[in-house]
């Protein structure tokens, strides 16, 4: 692997036609060869060794019965894939991933876009088109959740959802003031139905995890959209206003199309994230929730590999998810393209 990486550098350096410096030399100087060797070769070696090769290996492992511990393995063809096909937990996990895939990007992006519009063009209807007062403050604060490591956010929400001393139950109990006094020490008192273990309850668990994810990402995409909307020429927005477009119409009919590329990037990233979601799910519900209510494929894969010692089967799951991920990415990018062409 090392050799091939370096080879690329040497080979590519053989006939450089620099764009910048228009020297038309057939034979590169030794200095330039060294330059290519280091500048291109080094990063490529790292990339090939630690990213590309493990990926290719996992495709091979997915066709074996490797346990991860034994050095030996048998080639068993597509048996792993057939077994996954019959694995009810896998389907449940995939279903949860698909639920996240549909809900997370939709809610996150709509919220982020609405907030971005408010801080950029939601300001006074008199004078120039501008954002609300304190826009900078909202922008800085909104990004906070993204700056907090996902693991910590997960733990934070574990606190918030905690049946005993959690913020959410505490808040709900404040709302139900009459019941407040009745509340037992650990909130598990049957007299009191507000002490719900949000993450333990099948009905709420996935939504509770999803909310933590949305909380994390809204600010990030808001900052992305703010940058996009700011690059729209002022005249365009002002012309729209003179033509009588309200702020809502300005947002939907002018701002949204102009930041379409940003939106489609956001969809792809959020989509890829929803198909993974490992960190949040595994921190908030380490075993995938009651009756696998929050289990996602990445967690199932992790357990299959490291808990059950079936690396071959886990690799096959990874391959399936990689295909699903690529399909989603291609689909979203393709949809964005075709719409743009029609315009």
């Amino acid at each position: 692997m090392t050799v091939s990486g370096v080879d690329v550098g040497v080979h590519e350096a053989a006939a450089p036609t620099p764009v910048v410096v228009r020297r038309r030399r057939r034979v590169p100087t030794p200095q330039r060869m060294l330059f290519f060797l280091i500048f291109l070769g080094l990063p490529l070696v790292v990339y090939l060794m630690f990213v590309v090769s493990p990926f290719l290996q996992s495709f091979y492992y997915s066709l074996t019965d490797w346990t991860g511990l034994s050095p030996s393995m048998e080639f068993i063809g597509i048996e792993n894939y057939l077994r996954i096909f019959d694995d009810a937990v896998f389907w449940k996990s995939l279903r949860n991933n698909l639920v996240l895939l549909i809900t997370l990007p939709t809610i996150t992006i709509i919220l982020a876009f609405a907030l971005a519009v408010m801080v950029t063009i939601g300001g006074s209807t008199h004078g120039g088109v501008r954002g609300v007062r304190g826009a900078g403050f909202y922008r800085v604060v909104s990004f906070f959740p993204y700056a907090i490591p996902a693991v910590i956010t997960g733990i934070l929400f574990n606190f918030i959802y905690h049946p005993g001393g959690g913020l959410l139950n505490g808040f709900l109990n404040l709302l139900r003031a009459p019941l407040n006094g009745v509340r037992g020490l650990f909130g598990a008192d049957p007299l009191n139905d507000i002490g719900t273990a949000w993450l333990g309850d099948q009905r709420f668990a996935l939504a509770a995890v999803g909310f933590a994810i949305i909380w994390t990402f809204v600010g990030f995409y808001m900052v992305l959209f703010v940058a996009g909307i700011k690059s729209i020429p002022q005249e365009v927005l002002e012309a729209a206003r003179i033509d009588g477009a309200g702020r809502f119409r300005s947002a939907v009919q002018i701002a949204a199309p102009m930041v379409r590329d940003n939106i489609s990037t956001a969809l792809v990233y959020m989509g890829i994230f929803a198909l993974d979601a490992f960190t949040f799910v595994s921190v908030m519900t380490p075993n995938g929730g009651t009756d696998n209510s929050t289990k996602v494929v990445s967690l199932h894969l992790y357990q299959t590999a490291f808990r059950d010692g079936r690396f071959g089967e886990a690799s096959a799951m990874g391959v399936i998810m990689a295909v699903v991920t690529m399909l989603v990415a291609v689909l979203v990018i393709g949809l964005g393209r075709s719409r743009k062409d029609k315009r």
């Binding site: 090769s53 290996q57 609300v132 910590i152 992790y302 998810m321």
Partner: protein, 271 residues
Amino acid sequence: MLHHIVLTLWALLVILPLLWTVYTSFKTSREILTDPFGLPEHMQWSNYSRAWQEAKIGEYFLNTVIVVGAGLVIVMLLGAMCAYVLARFRFPGNRIIYFGMVAGLTFPIFLAVVPLFFVLKNMGLLDGRMGLVGVIMAYVAFALPFTVFFLHSFFAGLPDEISEAAAIDGAGDFRTFFQVMLPMAKPGLASVAIFNFLGMWNQYLLPLVLNTERSNYVLAQGLVNLQAQQGYQVDWGGMFASVVITVIPVLIIYVIFQRQLQGGVGPSADK
């Protein structure tokens, strides 16, 4: 008016949980469980000393700083070098290498993580203290596609005249890169570096699988472990204090550097 209400609600939704965490970290475990909203009766500074010493947050913190610091420097250097060559030189195979790199953005990490474990192990990069080197290399490798992708457009957008002038002045490729092009790409480097920092500080799956030596744990692992270990006799005060210790430095760094981000999430937004 409606805008202000919505924005205020949103800001509260972000800030309140954080504030709650901070003041809860000064309460006793008993106070936390019996009265989630109440203010601490006495400030429990001991929560912090317990978190730092017994829960070893200090140790994990140091490990994280080493891994993220080294990973960040290496990936920015390698990424800038690679992006520069791909953006400014035309040669056969250029596009293939570029797309091969960028395709890495869509590879799900969890697919590669098992074989990666054995790649690093066979190189002896997961043993003892060396384990940190393995983790650093994994961080670097998986941050490369993003770094190259974004820096590529920065370097491509730099004016030709300057590098031409440098060449006329007799500067070689190395000097042109380090003394002319790199300083010009600073705004791009800064925002990519911030995202890489956050990404690496955030990383969980890679250390979880690769970083098995307890003394090498990074913060994310340490905290999850702390939470799982304690089970039902949770030292809530210590837990909250650990979370605060982990969150505050990142928020401070973010507030200091947030200006760099506002315009520059994507390279195109900078112009």
